[in-house]
Symmetry: C2
Subunit: 381 residues, 2 copies
Amino acid sequence: MSRLLSLHPSLLPAGFVDVLPPEAETEAAAIEAMLGVFAAHGYERVKPPLLEFEESLLAGTGAATAEQTFRLMDPVSQRMLGLRADITPQVARIAAVRLARAPRPLRLSYNGQVLRVRGSELRPVRQMAQAGVELIGADAPEADAEVIAVAAEALAALGVPAVSFDLTLPTLADELLATLSVPPEREAALRHALDRKDAAEVALLAGPLADVLDELLHAAGPADRALEALSASPLPPRARALAERLARTVAAVRARSPGLALTADPLEFRGFRYHRGVAFTVFSAALAEELGRGGGYLAGEEPATGVTLYPDAALRAAPPRPRRPRVFVPLSLAARAPLLRAEGFATVAALGPVADAAAEARRLACTHLATEDGAVPLEGV
Amino acid sequence: MSRLLSLHPSLLPAGFVDVLPPEAETEAAAIEAMLGVFAAHGYERVKPPLLEFEESLLAGTGAATAEQTFRLMDPVSQRMLGLRADITPQVARIAAVRLARAPRPLRLSYNGQVLRVRGSELRPVRQMAQAGVELIGADAPEADAEVIAVAAEALAALGVPAVSFDLTLPTLADELLATLSVPPEREAALRHALDRKDAAEVALLAGPLADVLDELLHAAGPADRALEALSASPLPPRARALAERLARTVAAVRARSPGLALTADPLEFRGFRYHRGVAFTVFSAALAEELGRGGGYLAGEEPATGVTLYPDAALRAAPPRPRRPRVFVPLSLAARAPLLRAEGFATVAALGPVADAAAEARRLACTHLATEDGAVPLEGV
């Protein structure tokens, strides 16, 4: 392999990594713990393929991922395939086509790898795990509250501390901007200023909306303050309906998950490319990056809501997981290995005789040595 | 989505499938059960990426998968990437480069999806799960025996009945053919006849080897019979060494796993593209297809052995898994849902009031209804 190394100063393409021990095990256990929470809430697992025809992968909600999707030619069908950059659109397709006749609301869960052509500055990785749920065919504040409660419980299962949900109305800015009669360039500049939360630039560009947008920009924070600001603002009817839905969702979340930290930033839309209604980003006080996001969208023609969690980020916010103790088993004690495994040890079997079993156990990074009297911690040998 | 359907009579490319409930859950649980067995035997999990630079993916043992590997251009590095068609070569790379300084023998486990440009007649799928272990830096019959014992235990964890291991010496045919002085076309024809087990054609082409090859072709079956035939055959030295290694591996497997069914087909080499020493295919009497394969190979410059299991095939051979009971929880009983989940139920929460809770529970494919007195089976309501 030395030839390989000289060919590739960095052996893997930028954004791709080998996950090594013990992180790979921790990640897998975390994902299974999350999926266990999803299953306990009645979400049934689906597993869509990594590759699909480009047109089906990028249809509907998938269109938002077009620029991020690796494409390749399928020599069998002679058609272009895409490597999925997001799983939610695939689950929406399954709900609309394969499970069209299943009763609604339909609760589906998934996990898997997604691939992206380019990483972002904040998330340079180009392959990442996703784990999530989709609640399809329901358009009630209680559906939002269920998805948020399930996400909170999944993160709690990993021990992620101080989780909070930052609610937003990703289409609110558009609804407000639609009431302005300004040239498209100016509307684009205003959207850009809103995206950057540049209050001065917004004030300069927003004309009659300047006061409302300024109030709403400054309303970001605890959910109640944001709801008050929305309530006090003179909103056009469609924006008003969104604000009322946010209030109902906050009430439903409070009813279902009384202790949950809720913030709101009603004008936030960055990264919400197909969401509508109430959407949200998941944070932990232990980490600067987001742990997941979700909210309402259209699955085909059905209202839906869901959440996608990022297990790698969740694990960076979680406390370390205790490692399984490892016990070295000399050949003469091989018959005891099954019992040691039943006790929770990982057994590391000798493949031949060794002169100094304790030294061999240490060399193999074991914590224990099997003896006639059971497993003995190595510091005791 | 109806437009999509009309565009695609078959919505997914040939060989790719959506795994639906309950199969997706069953598959995930089976993979975790297998990886749990691997971990209990001291195999530590690694997770290589789905995409790598083509040259690194197809180096060493990976060369065998070149024709089966999807390739695509990476716009970031401007170099060709390959989508992995096999995980073993990636694990060998990790052992040789990332874990070069880890103590040997190195025990690594993995699971993940692999993709192939073309399915075979027997296995038309182009995306499949693999789960396996690699034991790197050991070249003893006991290493073969450990890998076989671990694979047997992983399949036992799924309840796969009547598992057997069919041992072979994938390089034996080459060693024998190398002693013949025949033109390359005739050697290729002879290899082809051996591959097809065409005894008549082998007899016609094998010249002085006709008797030995005929005996060995007919020796396929119980391991002892094959060992006897090998022992009785006049073999050249390198072939004799292989035969002796097979005998030692059989003895080591018998010592470690006394009840295990062992067969041998010493001339079999189909599909073993990088194996050497003793290799094997895993079967169950419950299924016509193979459940996995493994054996010796070179990981970089180190001797290694390992096994790759195919969870989808293993599950076709396994008994069905009982499904988790599902209980419908009316709004008024929402506070009881956590307790029901703790009892092992999947709870399906009402998102609003329902007139007939039992009817709603049936409509949502639940098995139980939550009542003031706990979960009641629906046939009892």
